[in-house]
Symmetry: D2
Subunit: 339 residues, 4 copies
């Protein structure tokens, strides 16, 4: 039973609450945090499953923990992860404002976007957009964090160094996502009989994650706002996002690769590969792998993440680690699925 | 045993030979032609399997036919399908020139490209590029046909109407293909343990099918040669190709859809869908489905085919039908796999 | 548009109605019958989709037919296929008794079992259990047919020759089924995220199809009633059933194989393979393949079918062919999916 | 870089060598041991990859370690894992006998079976069959361990409590395995195009793991030797084994469940579930889950493991932990894959 936690240099373990613990991202958070060396899982909230052991919902937890879901809102916690549907987080924060010392990490899209250039607030404190490779220092000092979207993470990690160098004018991006990206609700497009061996496009050129991407790219370079034309596909696998962005960039490939390596130096989860990458290299890990290819003045950037880890719950824990001054990789040095 | 054939209005059945009948495209040809109403399968050539019943190699044929592979080159045939590896067809034609009355349909890439604007010849007669939606009339009169590549088929069917209207300047294209596209040889990237649940890119911006696409687009409009920037992906399914091309086109979507409908009118296998399409709609069929979406001045064209049928053996039979004056759909009205 | 039909030796085409045409088995029936040489699809009934083109529900039919669903009950038909949920067929027959000349082929389980040794009736006429390899002659004369269950078909075809020879005492059977066997309703166990890469057991030792199997085995040999201990598994594929039955049978393997070949001689869809079989040999076909292996006095019988074809809609059309004096394979010589 | 190791209560880390580190089980061992708190990976031997970084072969290790393969045989180690092909371990031990203090954990089948009731020896010391749930105390004292087969593990864990109670007379067992069980060599049955969506049987009634199962069952009760009739299937997934054994056992289910719970009490990885189990509950973990169902006097035992973890490399580390007096779960509290 590893739901307790070891001391962190004598400090008390961080008390964690999760709201919406019965969904896919909630479950993945629980799996990580049960094994996190500096955390105590204090309360897993789920109205519909209150009183049930966690393993009745997340059945792989059988033998891992005897914790049960609760419908009492967690108060005696240091940090609260919000794993509810989009739109629910804001309502929840308004209905039950957190105590001043409680930090919020929100996995929904509710707080990701500035309104008219102004950050959203929770309890009077700004909520920082939590992409560590973009603004790690801001996250370290943040009271609250808005965890990025999964596609937004993969696309941004593929484009950030280009944007920083001023080499990004426009991107043509295609991405494919696993079924867990669609969440747990029963839909025609999440049926096995439909999705197996199938590929399809959705939200062509209009995916909501583009707004996050645009906001970051604009912040990096207020003068230009490079458009990203994004075609998202549904893939016939459960986990993962693979993205290829084609851009015009005549700089020598060597220089571009060097710029990427420089940008990601010291970032423990994002790596530039000199070999071809594939999706399964990152599955079950918090990594992002990036590969660069060039022909003439066209550059293609491939990036791959696990949508539930670097694209959601893993990045949320990475943000928690940063906010609480822990080692960035604590609890996140996960064995790759590998097959 | 349907390996014989019904008369076609009293005419004798077409005698068909296949060279390289043990591979994936050879097998698919056999499956189609065994059920084709106007064909007799005269000889299935395979040096390595000579003397073996077809069902020892294509095991699903058990109960369908007692035909055996032969290593005697077929001569008493009306048409010869070449299903060998790339580079092998040309060698084979040079080593064993066909009798003057034998028509050749080549599924390799050996004869697809003009050399310096001049069509390749077999036995002194030009070999026509066999994309019926591009030049059906030429195919009808052709002595020989070079069957298009699978990705080349999907990309061209997605772009031809645009090019014809003069609306195509440049295309950013991503496509994903099933494992059968890689053929039967044992490779690391065709291993189940590697490919299952995986996605990866290959031949980024350099796929050999781009040459066919370029040749067609140039022929449609000699003044411009719209570049196609193509990122091919390997998918974790066995059959099918799904392609999305993003282009700049400010014409009203309605007009574009109308142009596509007009272009494909009378073509029995290619259809424009007003609903979202998915890959499985076309699997096990000879169809190509196309869907158009627009945001601002960006247009996305989705196209989907079965790589072994419309992308290879099905289109080869469609070409045979045209060359021999049969109904274009003869033997090709296949039940969709549907799941 | 092949929804019309060719004459059958001058006879008028068979007019077919389908009730419950929006489900998986209904869709598969439509796909087959649109291409059946002796059939006219007269009416496809679906209350919830009335007025919609078929391809709005069965999207692969785009380009195949312009037929629409109707909510008017088909009357001017020669045969009515019932593709409704279990329990619905009986209610439907009672609420809207068919005209005397209309033949019924029911794909539900409602009429499969005798009650106290007496066959169920529709309109005063007995409804025959439609497993052609068991009682083809009775089906030819039947007014109505109850189409067997998918697992029941695979298990019986594996055991019938043994039972007939008096060699069957008891069978230990495991079978695995594709997701389409669970129908179209949205369930946790039909979600892609759950079912992909997963295997699980259900209805262990209690599957309802055992009743059909038992009824047939008892009819073959009234003195003994060999128990079948059956463990059904859910597989991570959409189509197909693979069954292995282990029995005690000390007869020489050669004699057993001979008995199987004798039994299935003249049955066009069921074949005994001397090579190892695999599921994909039969997918997208109406075949059943059988393989026999022996070690000591234990015999293992493997059998494989496509659950939607030989296990449902294909067998239903096979029964129709027999009832109407057509060739047994008419419309059912389907190209295997092969991959 | 976690390839170093934390002290274990002040003790020096265990120095580990791996022979055959480029295969599937070798890679999985590396992934586990890189994160094991009490281990230093000293040498990863692979003749064909010597000099290459590990991540060139196990590409998911990019960013995890800079270790390289060596072709120098590891000598300065405390324990040597042998991950070579069947037959290779024995040859290797004979050609290069280990130093007296080096412990051997062999993942091949070379040392699993007694010869005429006598345990095999390495360097004069017996090599113990390493199934902890069967003989944990013997493993703790063992110099060397022969790691069980994957199917053998799943079958034995399903049957051991029955055998111990004297309730096991005979078992009819079906099991399905992922593609990684077939290893890394390129074969027709490991091709994606063949294996996707496919099921097939192999080694029917003759699988080599039956010998291990038989040896254990006989040791538990020398008077009877309950036969296990085993039908192995190949599944279309990469990881995992799901087994269902049907036995005759008229004891009340409650008593049987109680006997299982008693048997596995204190074993940290094997759990009896009162709910239906499915394969994915155990994937990416070292667990075995067991479920019991009864109808009349027939009992069905379902068991599920990850073939590369509890069925190979995970169990090998579990054995190492026991041999070196570490906590049994050290390095093995792995996050489930969950999807």
């Amino acid at each position: 039973m590893s739901s307790g936690a070891q001391a962190r240099g004598g400090a008390a373990p961080i008390r964690v609450g999760i709201v919406g613990g019965a969904g896919y991202t909630g479950g993945e958070l629980i799996r990580i945090l049960l094994r996190h060396p500096h955390v105590t899982l204090t309360a897993i909230h789920s109205r519909s499953n209150a009183g049930q052991p966690l393993y009745k919902v997340h059945t792989d937890l059988l033998g891992d923990t005897d914790l049960v879901f609760t419908d009492v809102l967690p108060t005696e916690v240091d940090v609260l992860f919000l794993c509810m549907g989009h739109g629910e987080s804001k309502k929840f924060m308004e209905a039950t404002p957190p105590a001043p010392q409680v930090r919020i990490i929100d996995l929904s899209q509710d707080y990701r976007l500035d309104e008219k250039g102004v950050r959203a607030l929770i309890g009077g404190k700004p909520i920082v957009y939590g992409l560590p490779e973009y603004q790690r220092e801001a996250i370290k000092k943040a009271a609250h964090v808005a965890n990025p979207g999964c596609f937004a993470t993969a696309i941004q990690l593929g484009l950030l160094p280009l944007a920083k160098e001023g080499w990004l004018e426009e991107a043509y991006t295609t991405g494919i996502t696993g079924s867990t990206g669609a969440g747990q609700s029963l839909q025609a497009t999440t049926q096995f009989s439909w999705r197996a061996d199938n590929v399809s496009a959705y939200k062509t050129l209009t995916h909501q994650h583009l707004r996050e991407v645009r906001q970051t790219l604009k912040a990096l370079n207020p003068l230009v706002e490079p458009p990203v034309h994004f075609v998202p596909w549904r893939g016939n696998f459960t986990r993962g996002i693979f993205v290829s962005s084609t851009v015009t960039c005549a700089a020598p490939l060597k220089d571009i690769q060097e710029a990427y390596r420089r940008y990601y130096e010291g970032h423990p989860f994002t790596h530039v590969s000199s070999e071809p990458i594939d999706l399964k290299q990152v599955i079950q890990t918090n990594k992002c792998l990036i590969q660069l290819e060039q022909a003439g003045d066209k550059l293609v950037v491939h990036s791959a993440i696990d949508n539930l880890l670097k694209g959601a719950s893993g990045q949320a824990v990475q943000n928690m680690n940063l906010m609480f001054g822990l080692e960035e990789k604590a609890g996140l040095d996960l064995k790759a699925g590998s097959f």
